[in-house]
Every structure is written in C-alpha cells, then in structure tokens.
C-alpha cells in the first residue's frame, strides 16, 4: 500500500465544497429565472443533471484508475477505483429517484423512456450494480482487485458507447422533447447550472477523499494490529494468557 496520506487537503476541500453548494443553492432559488414551460419544476434540473454527469464521470474516472492499477500494480489505485464506483452508484440512486420525481411532476408518470440520458443512465446503473457482487465473490484479494479493475475498465468504456446508442435510438423515433444540457440555456440558467455542476464535482471529490482516508486508516490499523499481536506472541509465556483477552477483544470489536 502506498505511503501517501489521503487526508491531506481534506479540510480545505470540504470548506470549498460547502461554499460551492451554498452558492449553488442560492443561485438556484434566488437568481435563476423561472422556466417559461415547466415553471418551478424545472429547478429539479439543477440537482438531477449535475448528479448524473458527476456519477457518469466517476464511473469513467474509475476506469482510468483501474488502468493505472493494472499498469503500475499499485493496490492503492484499485482502492481509489473502488471508492469512485461506490460513490457513483450512490449518486446513481439519487439520479434515478430525482429523475422519477421530475418525470412525475412533468409528465405525470414516474418513469419515461423519452429522456435518453435517464434511460442510458438506468442501463449503466444496472451494469455497475454487479460490480460489488462480482468483486466479493472472488476470494483471493489480489485476484479480486485485478478482476474488479478489468470490470471497471470495460464498464467505463461502455458508458459513452451506451449513451451514443440510446441517443441515436431516441433521435430516430422521438424528437428531443426537452433539450436542457448545453446549447439552449439562457445565460443566467447556464451560470447556475455550471455552479451546481462544479459544486457536485467538489462534493464527489471530497466524499471520495473522505472515504479513501477512512479505508486507508483502517488498513494501516489492521497491519499495525497484526504486527503488535505477532510481537505479543513472541513475548515470554507468563504474560501469554493476559494478552489473549485484549487481542481477542480488539479482533471482536473490529469485526
């Protein structure tokens, strides 16, 4: 495991994230104009779409990290990849739920097939749901990390291909019903959207670092305990029985 400290810069990052989120909220509710067609409902767009973009970005970034893991044979990259996928799946749940709320409010149904981004997201989400079952069904840790990385790379390459396919299919059968992201946004909406996107990205990076720090610390602790227990085993016999209890307690406290 690398000797890098994951927690470095975490406080600064957290503060930046809080500021960005506060700014985004302020812009969404006090600055961005009301959409002519959709009305107040359109405000969901500022939380739903950034979450989707960041989640998909997270999946693709995890693929790149997996490549680094395989090439450098450095397990810390596998951990980074795992946490990124894990976070993106959680965000993915948020995307699907907020997407359903938006669909219900806009079209009266909890799900619509018209929105290619939402549909392609569902497919990607279903794929990544198999990541953890696949990972944890392989017992050998080194092989587990390797196979997980192969999956992350293949799935990461799949994300853009899938999006293209769904988009092509939609363009063919339904004209685009709602075209928000990118070109057609008026200036104030675009600014709000970009700030929201930036805040979501910062949030992702902060939470990612946070979980990495926690996992890394747990790993260091485990190694330390093993070394201490081995040291305890080498001690002379008279303190042997006294030692079993704290060591056993430590083991059971952490399981």
């Amino acid at each position: 495991m690398t000797s890098a400290l994951f927690g470095r810069g975490l406080s600064a990052l957290s503060i930046a994230t809080v500021c960005a989120i506060a700014a985004a909220f302020a812009l969404v509710f006090f600055y961005a104009p009301l959409d002519a067609d959709q009305g107040f409902i359109q405000k969901i767009f500022y939380v739903h779409v950034p979450m989707a973009i960041v989640a998909l970005g997270g999946f693709m970034a995890a693929g790149v990290m997996a490549i680094l893991h395989l090439r450098r044979r450095d397990r810390s990259w596998d951990m980074r990849s795992y946490v990124a996928i894990h976070l993106s799946i959680i965000l993915g749940v948020g995307v699907l739920v907020t997407g359903a709320i938006w669909a219900k409010a806009s079209w009266g149904h909890w799900w619509v097939w018209d929105e290619p981004t939402l549909v392609s997201f569902l497919i990607v989400f279903l794929l990544y749901c198999t990541y953890q079952p696949l990972r944890f069904s392989i017992e050998d840790p080194e092989r587990q990390a390797r196979y997980a990385s192969v999956f992350a790379i293949v799935a990461g390459a799949f994300v853009p291909l899938n999006f293209i396919a769904v988009r092509l299919a939609e363009a063919y059968t339904h004209p685009r019903v709602l075209s928000q992201t990118g070109g057609n946004l008026p200036g104030e909406m675009r600014l709000t959207f970009l700030v929201a996107l930036g805040a979501m990205t910062l949030l992702f990076v902060t939470l990612w670092k946070l979980e990495l720090t926690s996992k890394h610390a747990a790993e260091q602790l485990r190694k330390l305990r093993v070394r201490l227990e081995l040291g305890a085993d080498e001690r002379p016999a008279q303190s042997g029985s006294g030692y079993r209890a704290p060591a056993a307690a430590a083991r059971s406290a952490s399981s």
Partner: protein
C-alpha cells in the same frame, strides 16, 4: 402538460433536493461510524502497547 402551480410544484422540488441532502448526510453518517470504530480500535491498540511497555 402545463406547468404545475407553485404550491404543487414546490413539493416535488423540495422532495428532489431532500433526496440529495439525505443521501449526502447518510453517507457522511456511515463514514462517521467507521471513523468511530477506528478510534475504538486505536484505543484498544494503545492499551495493548501500554501493557507491553508501561
């Protein structure tokens, strides 16, 4: 479908943003629990070391 009136729409928008907030808070809580467990284990290790070399 015509835009919903403000009171109706407000509930949906609030719901969506609430989902986002809840996800983040629950996630932080889970990490918090992990950190608490780490702290407990560190304490146990500290006790272990004390017994070894007081």
């Amino acid at each position: 479908m015509p835009a919903l009136p403000l009171e109706e729409a407000g509930k949906y928008v609030a719901g969506a943003y609430l989902v986002f907030v809840v996800l983040v808070v629950v996630y932080v809580a889970i990490i918090g629990a992990k950190v608490a467990r780490l702290e407990r284990e560190l304490k146990t290790l500290g006790d272990l070391m004390e017994k070894r070399a007081p």
